[in-house]
């Protein structure tokens, strides 16, 4: 019953520093029976001689995606995988489905998928299952049946990230103030989860904090900046900003600075991701906290795959531990940011 996923600190991803590596939290006891090669019904495979496919969801155009893809590629090389197929769905769900199908018809024997969305990948997962190709999903979780449609999920808990951001916010503001939320892209479940975690936690823990605005910044820096510029004018009473990713948070910093306010002091800023730029802002004192969302899935993913083929049982959810950065550890952790 027990997991197999404790000691995942074997290596680091981008080669940055050992600080950046992912670590799996102990899976919750409730995660139930793990998934074995036998129960899943896949043929035995030596990864070294295998064709592995990786389906990336969004363009490698933000630090998270760049680090994620790079880490998979590096680890595949390190292990000596025969051939790694990579595709990028360019944020289109239909493309991700066909990407996966394309890789299957190109002979992929094991798949790592970074899903664009929790729902909707069913046809692709079915196609893989029909060919008895095991699938590991990373980063975002899919709403399908583990050990049937896919082997297991590795990644963060986005609701939890929102919750931790709320805690950091409470700490930074002393539990009082008016907060604006810069939402991620509409309709995206990362947005939904990070909002839910944050809002619920604030409600439960900090009655003194009022959420006065929730506007989308579409996960992009310039949109975040533009929304912030509007809010500075219309809601000058805002004392804190929660940005659902670092890019929007950094956009808010620029907007605040241009308006003659001191980000990190006049207006507290907390965001999620842990990119180098955000941690640097923390070092500069223009930021208050960053909740990490660690993209370096390569080592953990391949290690999990090897365990799976080694006959071990893999728990349904391998939740990784995300770190948190604040003034106290920013400088020291800068090397581990991506």
């Amino acid at each position: 019953v027990s997991g197999c996923s404790k000691s995942e600190t074997t290596s680091n991803a981008g080669g940055d520093s050992s600080q950046g590596a992912q670590a799996a939290k102990t899976p919750e006891a409730s995660s139930g029976a793990g998934c074995s090669l036998e129960t899943y019904g896949a043929p035995k495979l030596d990864l070294k001689n295998a064709v592995v496919g990786f389906s990336q969801s969004e363009k490698e155009a933000n630090p998270f995606r760049i680090a994620e893809t790079q880490s998979i590629k590096d680890e595949a090389k390190k292990i000596g995988v025969k051939k790694l197929l990579t595709t990028n769905a360019q944020s289109q769900l239909s493309k991700q489905i066909s990407d996966i199908q394309d890789m299957l018809s190109q002979g992929a024997q094991f798949l790592i998928i970074a899903p664009l969305n929790s729902d909707g990948l069913e046809p692709a997962l079915k196609a893989a299952a029909a060919k008895k190709v095991p699938v590991l999903t990373i980063d975002r979780k899919v709403n399908s049946t583990a050990c049937k449609d896919y082997v297991a999920f590795l990644g963060s808990d986005f609701v939890e990230q929102g919750k931790r951001a709320a805690d950091a916010m409470i700490k930074a503001t002393g539990g009082k103030g008016k907060v604006a939320i810069l939402l991620g892209a509409s309709g995206n479940n990362v947005t939904t989860d990070r909002t839910k975690g944050f809002v619920d936690q604030i409600k439960a823990e900090a009655p003194g904090i009022e959420i006065v605005a929730q506007q989308t910044g579409e996960f992009a820096r310039d949109k975040g900046q533009q929304v912030m510029e509007q809010l500075i004018q219309s809601k000058p009473e805002i004392t804190a900003v929660y940005a659902e990713n670092d890019e929007m948070g950094l956009g808010a910093v620029t907007a605040l600075k241009a308006a003659g306010k001191k980000p990190g002091k006049d207006v507290k800023i907390v965001s999620v991701d842990g990119t180098r730029n955000a941690v640097q802002a923390l070092v500069n004192g223009e930021y208050n906290a960053v909740i990490e969302s660690n993209p370096r899935f390569g080592p953990l993913a391949f290690a999990t795959a090897q365990k799976f083929y080694g006959g071990e049982e893999i728990p349904e959810n391998v939740i990784i531990t995300d770190r948190a950065y604040d003034e106290t550890n920013a400088e020291a952790s800068l090397g581990g940011a991506y």
């Binding site: 990336q56 363009k59 490698e60 155009a61 893809t69 790694l84 197929l85 990579t86 595709t87 990028n88 360019q90 944020s91 289109q92 769900l93 239909s94 493309k95 489905i97 066909s98 990407d99 199908q101 394309d102 890789m103 299957l104 018809s105 190109q106 002979g107 664009l116 969305n117 929790s118 729902d119 909707g120 990948l121 069913e122 046809p123 079915k126 196609a127 709403n143 892209a185 509409s186 309709g187 995206n188 479940n189 947005t191 939904t192 839910k196």
Partner: protein, 355 residues
């Protein structure tokens, strides 16, 4: 399926408005060429009419040699099922563009259709189809009314409904937080997931719709009126054709088809995913234009659109076959591919003018 457009000699680019240098507003070829039949001429004729088909075949044949995994039944199934949804949307778009209009709202309407279908699927098969069709048809109707009766530019009207439909979708999904699921093993789910010889039902639906669309376009008064409206809206009015009614109908049809495609997609994904359909309008428009339909209206063909859709799907598949490109290079390659394809098609079309 139809092959002829009303303007077999019309060049694939803005013909009447954009003459080649040689003859500004010049007259086309005389019919003399027709009196010398021969295989060569006939092949040329076919190529001219179906420049896209020629390009598509060339690409497919070349790809089959280069990538052994390309020419598999499996791959064909994958490409066609993926293309089928865009195809249904592009079918409506073709008709709209033939009237000289454009429908930018299809991507949002597609997504809305899917969400509504997934939501309604809990009430049974019929509801799952009817609800999205009614709602999406209504959006199309609104487009048509504003364009035909309100005399507003199609581009801007449908741009507004692109926003509006997306907003509606967010409103009914709690800002995208709720994803409605299609009940497992429902008849509606089967519509999206079932297949014949591995070819999914949506492919068959698309084919049937294209057959019907071809007939409507080429062999009915409505179809002729579409060409007339696009060829010269004023002339069509003066000839006593029901121009406004035709426009209203064609946008309604486009809305219906986008909604249907969305519903089929939801059935396939077994959920009403909110993030689909973004930018789909551009894919549909490219497929239509690559298929030889003139954006200024008045000439075009349904079959061309089908080849256009397939060509786009094949290009995407090929980029995956290349395998190791990162996402940025993928964009560069598909942009480059697009240029090559349209220029090639353009030159094929031009060679017909000089014969």
């Amino acid at each position: 399926m139809n092959e002829t457009t009303p303007a077999p000699a019309a060049p694939a680019a803005p013909a009447p408005a954009v003459p080649r240098t040689d003859t500004p507003g010049g007259k086309g070829p005389r019919p003399a060429a027709a009196s010398e039949p021969g295989t060569r001429a006939r092949v040329a004729e076919l190529l001219q009419r179906q420049g896209v088909l020629a390009v598509l075949l060339t690409v497919v044949i070349a790809a089959s040699f280069i990538y052994p995994t390309f020419a598999s039944l499996d791959n064909a199934r994958g490409i066609t099922i993926q293309a089928s949804f865009l195809a249904v949307v592009a079918l409506g778009m073709t008709m709209v563009i033939i009237t000289g209009g454009i429908d930018l709202s299809v991507g949002s309407v597609f997504a809305l259709g899917g969400v509504l279908a997934a939501w309604a699927s809990q009430y049974g098969f019929l509801a799952a189809l009817l609800v999205p069709l009614v709602a999406c048809g209504a959006i199309g109707l609104l487009n048509g009314l504003l364009i035909a009766r309100g005399n507003m530019a199609p581009f801007i009207v449908t741009l507004a409904t692109l926003l509006g439909a997306r907003g509606l979708l967010l409103a009914i999904t709690d800002e995208g937080a709720t994803t409605y699921l299609v009940p497992k093993d429902s008849a509606f789910g089967e519509l999206g997931q079932g297949s014949v010889w591995g070819f999914g039902y949506p492919i068959l639906v698309a084919l049937v719709l294209f057959g019907a669309g071809g007939l409507v376009l080429q062999r009915t008064s409505f179809g002729q009126t579409l060409f007339a409206v696009g060829g010269s809206s004023d002339a069509a009015t003066l000839m006593g054709l029901p121009v406004a009614r035709t426009k209203i109908l064609v946008y309604t049809l486009s809305g219906l088809l986008a909604g249907l495609a969305g519903a089929l997609n939801a059935a396939r994904l077994s959920s009403g995913v909110t993030i689909v359909g973004v930018g789909m309008e551009l894919d549909a428009i490219s497929a239509v234009v690559i298929g030889g339909t003139l954006l200024i209206g008045g000439a075009g063909s349904i079959s061309g659109t089908l080849w256009g859709v397939l060509l786009l799907a094949v290009i995407q598949n090929l980029i995956n076959q290349i395998g190791s490109l990162n996402s940025s290079y993928q964009s560069v390659v598909s942009g480059g591919f697009l240029i090559v394809v349209v220029v090639a098609q353009r030159y094929l079309a031009r060679s017909r003018r000089s014969t």
